[in-house]
């Protein structure tokens, strides 16, 4: 079944690209501006764990491990404007200005026991983080076919400035001898102070570009990987939230997958971005 679907996909893809093979869409000197939007999924790659508890959290999972939510459940979004300039027939320089939100969440379980009565108390607390950045990805895009419909690959860097880090948590205390307490949701706070103001990631991906009249659509997927880590080693504890949250951020790099759609319009005089056949 899987093979059949794959074959079907490739047949459609070949048909689509082949149908435009007669027309040449030269990107050279094209200057375009457009809008971009999409969703993304985040996986924090932990390099060092931190805890406010010493010697370590008394966790039912053991040690001071935080249990991070799976990649596909950490869905954020991003959107903004994009400009591009065709350097050669196939090679295009693109610059984007995005509001980009990474989301991640993890759970800590704290446990205490009363030796005399044998009862135990656990506190399950799930932390939600929304890392909001202004990102300015600068990438080179290579359109493989330079036709109306063309697959492309692209790569570049994505500098970013932190806008805010919305943090909240949901917790529930449970006693082995009492009914469970109500789940409590904390108010959202800004933990921007615990993050580096500047963040940089490598970005690269692939997709499909196609023209509909003068308008160009880019449907693609980008992967991002932190070159600089987002969390601050200096201010991990210093913004005062550690004592309120019973937690501080681990040291991690971000692996992120972005799925997006960009709509580009040609602008300017001679480099109006017209395909040759126009």
């Amino acid at each position: 079944m899987k093979t059949r679907n794959l074959l079907l996909f490739f047949s459609l893809f070949t048909l689509l690209t082949a149908s435009s093979s007669a027309q040449r869409y030269d990107r050279k000197n094209q200057f375009m501006i457009g809008l971009k939007g999409g969703v993304n999924f985040t996986d924090p790659l932990i390099s060092q764990r931190y805890s406010v508890f010493a010697p370590g959290v008394s966790s039912k999972h053991g040690g001071e491990a935080k249990i991070y939510e799976k990649f596909m459940k950490n869905m954020g979004y991003g959107g903004g404007v994009a400009i591009s300039y065709g350097i050669t027939r196939n090679l295009t320089l693109t610059l984007e200005g995005l509001f980009y939100q990474y989301r991640l969440s993890y759970t800590n379980n704290y446990a205490w026991t009363d030796v005399q009565s044998g009862s135990s108390v656990t506190l399950d607390r799930t932390y939600y983080k929304r890392l909001n950045y202004f990102e300015i990805p600068l990438m080179f895009r290579y359109d493989i076919l330079a036709r109306r419909v063309s697959p492309f690959i692209q790569a570049g860097v994505s500098p970013a400035f932190v806008h805010s880090v919305q943090a909240s948590n949901r917790s529930q205390m449970q006693s082995s001898v009492l009914p469970s307490e109500l789940e409590e949701q904390s108010a959202a706070t800004d933990e921007k102070g615990s993050y580096n103001q500047f963040y940089l990631s490598a970005v690269g991906g692939a997709g499909l570009s196609f023209y509909a009249g003068k308008t160009m659509f880019l449907l693609g997927a980008n992967g991002r990987y932190s070159i600089l880590q987002p969390t601050s080693d200096l201010h991990r504890f210093s913004n005062g939230s550690a004592s309120g949250n019973l937690d501080v951020q681990d040291k991690y790099r971000i692996l992120n997958l972005e799925l997006y759609l960009t709509v580009m319009f040609p602008i300017g005089g001679k480099c109006a971005g017209m395909p040759k056949f126009f």
């Binding site: 300039y85 205490w112 005399q116």
Partner: protein
């Protein structure tokens, strides 16, 4: 064509220009916050004092379950190196951890004889190395280090109903003892104070302008007394046992900063002038009401130097379960304030100390999830301390 290239170039250059990674100045470590947890839910820790150790770490003294002596040894980065109780027949640790001639001392009471005991502790293993009994001094209530490596010890004579201020040595020699008659039996209050079943009185000892200070029961009241080595000097009586001083700090100009309590409210007198031979009331010491202080809050004083400026710092517990650290300049004007803890996890002051790296450590009891009282330690580095008084560290270093 060029104008389009500029469209790419300008943002890119702006970005590169603004790319900078936050860096700590050389030889400065990040601050931290640590909770020294214990899985036993029934255990309650009341932090009393903290001392910086030679390696930049900390030794935290607590009272476990209103009785047992407990020590935590933290490394320079806050990680726990050791934690242990000292159970050599001693309990009810006094509120100070002394550092005399390179050794750490804890004061406590003998479990059965009720006399004072001075215990020398190993800061690395949180264990007792040796101990000295002061058999004639019952109900030890406070002690502090004074000149020439000796100790000022406050105790209570249950037979003659009097407070006793003694100068003793760490090896148990009693140099002198001064008595202050209470005129009524206050053993019940003292037992309740020690067991945590009643009001905890801010007993303390100190030195001030060559005089010895005892904050203790005296003449049907809780009083602030000064002594010479041979006689009683000034007397400031509280209103019965409902008012008195909470803490004092001797200033370099001969005055003292005094925190006092009166029927649950707290006041701060930043500069109280000494008077010899007077008999007055603590309520006449003056000072401004500290409205957000918790009822009968503990107070701690200390000196902090930031950017070559001396600050008198005092810390107290607030009504919403935090610790407020306030900084006064030498004229007694409030210059800065910083809160520690959160209402969700109340934090109660143990003590704070300036550190050798020009930072600050604040130790106290932290109620995890509002329930479990645990020793906790905040460490601010020098840069963070600059931020407390609104200074930019890098800028200040260049000037």
């Amino acid at each position: 064509m060029k104008k389009y290239i500029y469209l790419f170039l300008f943002p890119s250059l702006c970005l590169l220009a603004s790319c900078r990674k936050d860096k700590l100045p050389k030889n400065m470590e990040p601050g931290y916050f640590k909770v020294y947890d214990d899985q036993a839910s029934a255990n309650r820790y009341r932090v009393l004092d903290v001392r910086e150790t030679g390696d930049g770490g900390a030794l935290i003294l607590s009272e476990l379950n209103d009785k047992t002596i407990h020590l935590v040894r933290a490394a320079a980065d806050g990680k726990q190196m050791a934690a242990a109780t000292i159970s050599n027949g001693s309990h009810n640790p006094l509120g100070s951890l002394l550092f005399i001639n390179g050794a750490y001392y804890v004061g406590a009471m003998d479990e059965t004889g009720l006399f004072a005991r001075i215990i020398r502790v190993d800061e690395n293993y949180c264990s007792a190395i040796s101990s000295t009994d002061l058999n004639g001094l019952l109900y030890p209530l406070a002690f502090s280090e004074i000149e020439e490596g000796s100790i000022l010890l406050l105790s209570y004579d249950r037979t003659n109903y009097r407070s006793q201020l003694s100068r003793v040595t760490p090896d148990g020699q009693v140099i002198w003892t001064q008595n202050a008659n209470v005129n009524q039996d206050t053993e019940t209050q003292i037992v309740a104070h020690l067991n945590g079943t009643g009001k905890r009185y801010p007993f303390y000892t100190a030195t001030w302008n060559g005089k010895y200070v005892a904050n203790c029961f005296y003449n049907y009241s809780f009083s602030f007394l000064t002594f010479s080595a041979s006689a009683q000097d000034a007397i400031y009586n509280g209103s019965n046992y409902n008012s008195g001083t909470s803490a004092m700090y001797a200033l370099e100009n001969g005055n003292a900063a005094i925190a006092r309590f009166s029927f649950g409210q707290s006041y701060l007198q930043p500069s109280f002038a000494p008077a010899s031979g007077v008999a007055d009331l603590t309520d006449n010491m003056g000072g401004a009401l500290i409205d957000d202080a918790a009822a009968d809050s503990d107070f701690r004083f200390g000196k902090i130097v930031i950017d070559k400026t001396n600050y008198i710092a005092y810390a107290y517990n607030t009504q919403n379960g935090r610790v407020c650290l306030s900084l006064l300049d030498e004229s007694g004007t409030l210059k800065a304030r910083r809160y520690f803890g959160s209402g969700e996890n109340p934090f109660r002051i143990g003590n704070f100390r300036a550190t050798a790296d020009k930072g600050l450590m604040v130790a106290g009891s932290f109620r995890v999830a509002g329930s479990f009282a645990r020793p906790a330690l905040f460490k601010l580095n020098e840069k963070e301390l600059y931020e407390v008084v609104g200074l930019d560290y890098e800028k200040a270093q260049k000037e």
